[in-house]
């Protein structure tokens, strides 16, 4: 890809990353809600539900980070293998 194409690609990727971020955000809300909230006798979050949601977000972000690191390593490994073939 030449310089121009590179720039175009970068622009498209940036747009996509924004979309990606919104998707991750909404998935986070959905999954933590579904795991943590089960009490509908009140219209405000119980303190245990609220605590669960905070822990859920923290944990999921930590997990995402870890998997992201492994993914990068594995991807790099695979690319190196393919190039040496």
């Amino acid at each position: 890809l030449n310089k121009q194409e590179e720039t175009l690609l970068q622009q498209r990727l940036q747009k996509r990353q924004m979309k990606e971020f919104l998707t991750i955000y909404s998935n986070l809300v959905d999954s933590c809600f579904s795991s943590c909230v089960d009490d509908f006798t009140s219209k405000t979050l119980a303190s245990r539900e609220s605590g669960c949601i905070s822990r859920c977000i923290q944990k999921q972000m930590a997990a995402q980070q870890r998997v992201g690191e492994r993914f990068q390593e594995l991807n790099a490994e695979m690319t190196a293998k393919m190039q040496s073939q």
Partner: protein
């Protein structure tokens, strides 16, 4: 991502960028699915806000296995489509 080498046709600039974008999208998609899958498999509850040792190691192993599974499926599908012969126009993965 390789092209079974029947000689590369000249691609327009737009096509090249689109292809590169497509490839990166596939990688991003795989990343997302891997994250989701491994979280489901490795994280049973949210009693703690941090990953414990067992969960961390599970995530590492899950990532490696997912990657390997992806490779395996891709290899087998390619072999299958080659068996069927180029006339069948195998699907691109």
């Amino acid at each position: 991502m390789s092209f079974l080498g029947f000689g590369r046709p000249k691609l327009s600039s737009e096509e090249k960028v689109a292809m590169a974008e497509q490839e990166l999208r596939m990688l991003a998609s795989m990343h997302n699915r891997m994250t989701k899958m491994c979280q489901t498999k490795c994280i049973p509850d949210y009693r703690e806000g941090e990953l414990n040792k067992g969960e961390s190691v599970c995530l590492d192993r899950c990532s490696a296995k997912y990657f390997e599974s992806h490779q395996k499926v891709s290899d087998i599908m390619q072999a299958e489509s080659q068996k069927r012969g180029p006339a069948q126009g195998g699907a691109m993965f």
